[in-house]
């Protein structure tokens, strides 16, 4: 097992290095706006632009910058490890500090949404599978289709205009920017009720259909029939034998989704509700062509995706011993 984990860790590290190189190439080799010119201002002379370029090391050859960047991220040199550079448009704040500052809000948003969507998706998926073709099954599947089809930002805006206490028709839940105003964990949790719900509904719909499909397959297996023949209560058959098998691929999906959301994929929810997370930060960074920051956030996102894949791989070995044996 230890060898498996170490092997996976080394592969993950190698993947991070590759991702870093690709991300650097995207922002430094492909045509993009000139950050030095943007930072210098609209009336800047060529000399001033050159000075800004020198100040931020943008005048060095691409390979030198690449070496510096990689050394800063992965080695103890160049201010590293984990030196992702500084944002030249945000009062020169270190990128790592910016990301770490935004991360708690994203983690809180994602964690709450995950609990909610799992809490919705599994019961809905199981009930739909068990009562296949019933009215309840059809109703829930139509509902899930609707939520899958609705863009998250649209769902967010509808939720705001219906239920938010600042712009909603009915003043029920905290509205835009409430997270920033809230102090203390409970107040922040209350401020996130709408964002959690919106993010969870859109994702729960996918998971519910996935669980349903897996459960239908599993419930047709021989060992389920055997369990029933042995007189195992139906509740146990469904939950212990059926759901346990059906949930395994869902874990894979969950690992990927959580990684993606922490990487900034909650971008729309964060933007609509003004939750100061990583996703909103990347929107702002794109808006001002802050490539160093975008680069840092993308790299951080890659780290999360790789890390959660690793977790899923390890978890899989427990859920499915065949993986460990391979």
């Amino acid at each position: 097992m230890a060898r498996f984990v170490v092997r996976r860790l080394l592969a993950a590290l190698a993947l991070l290095v590759v991702v870093s190189a690709v991300v650097f190439a995207i922002f430094n080799l492909l045509p993009a706006a000139d950050p030095a010119e943007l930072r210098a201002g609209k009336r800047a002379s060529p000399e001033q632009i050159e000075e800004v370029r020198q100040t931020y090391g943008l005048d060095d050859p691409v390979l030198v910058r690449f070496g510096r960047y990689m050394a800063g991220v992965f080695t103890p040199f160049e201010g590293g490890p984990l030196n992702l550079g500084t944002s030249i448009f945000s009062d020169n704040e270190p990128v790592l500090e910016i990301v770490l500052d935004r991360l708690p809000a994203t983690i809180f948003l994602v964690a709450g949404a995950v609990v909610l969507w799992i809490g919705i998706a599994i019961p809905v998926g199981v009930i739909s599978a068990v009562r296949r073709r019933s009215l309840l099954d059809r109703a829930t599947m139509i509902a899930t289709l609707a939520f899958i089809s609705a863009p998250v930002f649209w769902l967010g805006l509808v939720a705001l205009y219906l239920l938010a206490d600042d712009v909603g028709l009915v003043s029920v839940f905290p509205g835009i920017g409430a997270y920033n105003d809230a102090e203390g964990l409970l107040a922040k949790a209350w401020a996130l009720v709408l964002p959690w719900t919106v993010l969870a509904l859109a994702t729960a719909a996918i998971y519910a259909r996935y669980v349903r499909s897996e459960m239908i397959d599993v419930m047709g297996e021989d060992y389920i029939r055997t369990a029933r023949a042995k007189g195992v209560p139906e509740r146990q058959v469904i939950l212990r034998h059926g759901l346990r098998s059906a949930i395994t691929p869902v874990v894979t999906l969950l690992g990927l989704d959580v990684g993606l959301l922490l990487a900034g994929n909650a971008i729309l929810t964060e933007s609509v509700f003004n939750v100061p997370g990583v996703g909103r930060e990347v929107v702002d960074a794109i808006g001002r062509s802050d490539y160093e920051l975008i680069q840092g956030i993308v790299l951080f996102g890659a780290f999360f995706i790789i890390a959660f894949n690793l977790v899923v791989d390890v978890l899989y070995t427990y859920l499915d011993p065949r993986v460990r044996r391979r």
Partner: protein, 603 residues
Amino acid sequence: MRSMLRWATMAAGIVALALSGCGGDDDRATGETGIPDQFAAPTAPPDDARPGGELTVIAADDIDFMDPGATYYQFTYMVTTAGHRTLMAWRPDDTDAPSPDLAEDDPAISDDGLVITFAIREGVRFSPPVDREVTAADVEYAIERGLLPGVANGYIPVYLSDVVGFAAAEAEASDDPTGGAPDIAGITAVDDRTLRIELKRPTSATVIQALSLPISAPVPEEYAREHDAENPSTYGDLVAFTGPYMVANDEGGELTGYTPGREIELVRNPNWDGEASGDFRPAYLDSIRIAEGFDDTASASRRILGGSGQVNGDISPPPTVIRDAAEDSEPGQLVASPSGGNRYITLNTQVPPFDDVDVRRAVFAATDRVALRNTRGGELIGPVASHFIPPEIPGFEEAGGVAGPDLDFVATPEGDPELAAEYMRSAGFESGRCEGDCEISVIGDGSSPSRETTEVFVDTLEQLGFEPQTRHVDYDVMLTRFCNSPEQVPHVCPSIGWLKDFNDPISILQPTFDGGAISDAGNTNLSLLDFPEINDAMAEAALIDDPDERAEAWGGIDTMIVEQAPAIPYTWDNQVNIRSDDVAGVINLFNANWDLAFTSMSG
């Protein structure tokens, strides 16, 4: 550059006033700006304005820099004008010239126009923890540190370049970026109360206006020195304030009230004593909170209009919200004012076919400027422009006002195809349309509404027989990789605009049409117009002190530029702002935004 970008985004918010039907009647619109009276911006507080209360400014993005020496952004000015006193400052209704602020009076100018002397007010004190009186040396240091590469002020190299010793100081700062602020020989703190500025040429009118910008906000050297020794400077982390408000800080001066991208908390500066130290700002509010991150402008605008104690910061309400607000909101909740900017399409005057003035005039004549303006929203986005100096900037009337100069190719805003064909024939195209090699490169901003503006203009080019090869790219890419680079600039840059730095026509015309402004990088003369008579006229007009003569001269230059048709102006933008019903908002016409030091709570 951010000011250009943000302004471009903000101005788009005007669009729906015309759609709403609230601006359609000419008789209700005020002349040159097209803004109906009911949406006119208030420039004075109500008589019964009362102190107290907290105001929340709703913003999408952050300010650019907290450091007053580095900032160069309209939204940041909203904050700096509440927190800093500058030598000269703009009262809400000032349009022609700034008023003395940190300076006791208008500066004295020597007879030869080469020496400007400011008398610094007594009793102005820095906020804690600096806690001492401001002296002339603090202003001198503030300006000089602007040359440090770690501060990199964006406008003093242009407007203060005639100060004696400026170039040498620039070189010194460049050679030793962390060696402290360079000494500009021509700027001297004669004593604690006297600041003397010596010029090589009598360009005092420009220098004085430039000193109304945040660069002249005093900086205590003993407090900032060690932070300015870093490159980039970290003075922005613990700025000292002199205005009525300051960003909340701790005992060491660290700004605890500023969380980039999230919030700025302005509290009253305990060392500010208002009228006693000659400040004209009433500063009614107890505190101001700038809440950032409201990316969805529609919901943010509704929150402001339906909420309490809020105004917009860097956001403009989208058309649907403006339409609703124009119909349903209380009077004064929605106001508009001229932005001090223009929009135009540049033609590259250095390469065929646009190196021929007749071809350029043909394109100008053929262009339906009303349609171009309408792509951005319609009548109340601003009037159809006929020249470059915007309304309320001196020189506007002298350049012909809204109607513009008396030139045949300017006379028909909807376009005159027959006249265009005549000009094409004058250029040697017998058919009145382009013949032979007629490929034209067009590189525009791909986002809406710029994309639509480009498409309308491309139609005009096609009608004249040109074959436009159009590329839509990101706005920043368009500027920094193509239009701002003389080697890469295409035949046509259709998504261009310019926002004044201050209310003097030099800040509109000189950067954009002076041949001397053409530079290898960061070029702002996108037409690459290098017309000796215009260059000479600008050099002469820059030396005029008398306001009327100056307006006359720059108005004439504007007409000379239009005669050469290096670009086609199509609108002078207005700026829309919104507030909650219980806010007695005051707009500062200079910044076209809420003046936080004049706004109060009315509820």
